[in-house]
């Protein structure tokens, strides 16, 4: 089950990233500078959105896995089995998030194709953000 993602027409990724120094030198916008600036703004917003999403997910993992793995009469330190439980729980929760995302997006794209098409990358964007989360790069951004 794969959700067809529309290419984001605005996400020309890294070509624009070094233009910030030139933005104050002109008053009337030249089109090249304007495009570079626009792409930079988009990238900033995108990164910010991904970080927020990942942070929220981790918050939810904390809440749910604490509830699932740590008993009410918690001992003075984390036991080995609690620690195993937490790791398993975290991995399951992230997998559950991905399943939910796929199922939900498939459903809304059946029922309201317009909405799903308009967001296009929501599924892949979200999943991409989370997929990357397991890697070291995005992890660094989060903490």
């Amino acid at each position: 089950m794969s959700f067809p993602s529309l290419p984001n027409p605005f996400s020309s990724s890294s070509s624009s990233s070094s233009s910030s120094s030139s933005q104050s030198s002109t008053t009337s916008p030249s089109s090249a500078e304007s495009t570079a600036l626009k792409n930079q703004i988009i990238q900033t917003l995108q990164t910010e959105g991904n970080v927020q999403n990942a942070k929220y997910l981790i918050q939810k993992v904390n809440e749910n896995c604490f509830n699932n793995c740590i008993p009410a009469d918690a001992s003075t330190s984390l036991t080995r089995s609690e620690s195993t439980c937490l790791s398993a729980c975290m991995e399951k929760y992230i997998e559950a998030w991905n399943t939910t995302s796929r199922t939900y997006i498939a459903r809304i794209s059946r029922e309201a194709p317009g909405v799903a098409a308009a967001v296009g990358g929501a599924g892949t964007g979200g999943l991409g953000g989370l997929g990357g989360m397991q890697g070291p790069d995005v992890g660094k951004e989060m903490f």
């Binding site: 984001n8 027409p9 605005f10 990233s17 910030s20 933005q23 002109t26 916008p29 089109s31 500078e33 304007s34 495009t35 600036l37 626009k38 930079q40 703004i41 988009i42 900033t44 917003l45 995108q46 990164t47 959105g49 999403n53 929220y56 997910l57 939810k60 749910n64 896995c65 699932n68 793995c69 195993t84 439980c85 790791s87 398993a88 729980c89 975290m90 991995e91 399951k92 929760y93 997998e95 559950a96 998030w97 399943t99 939910t100 995302s101 199922t103 939900y104 997006i105 459903r107 809304i108 029922e111 909405v115 308009a118 967001v119 296009g120 990358g121 929501a122 964007g125 979200g126 951004e141």
Partner: protein
């Protein structure tokens, strides 16, 4: 990460065309945020129902996976059913 830019000041330096494109992007992004927020909500709701066994392996069992999918679908069905019934109640008044 790069130095963050002041979006408010920067927008006035964009051509009208780029401003429109940026606006479109923001609209899409906000819709995406709404979807992600629903996904977070549904994940938590369904995780509580579906992952009930002992947490030793880090992968969802196929049973849990199917449970998650069904949980999401039924939640959507529920909100549709409630809306539908609300309509009939209103029509009967």
């Amino acid at each position: 990460m790069e130095t963050s830019i002041s979006v408010d000041g920067a927008v006035s330096k964009l051509t009208p065309q780029d401003q429109r494109e940026l606006q479109q992007f923001v609209q899409n992004e906000s819709q995406k945020n709404q979807i992600q927020s629903t996904v977070h909500d549904l994940t938590e709701r369904c995780f509580k129902r579906c992952i009930t066994g002992s947490l030793s392996a880090g992968k969802l069992t196929s049973k849990e996976e199917v449970c998650m999918q069904n949980c999401v679908e039924r939640f959507m069905d529920t909100s549709l059913a409630v809306l539908k019934h609300l309509e009939t109640l209103r029509a009967g008044q």
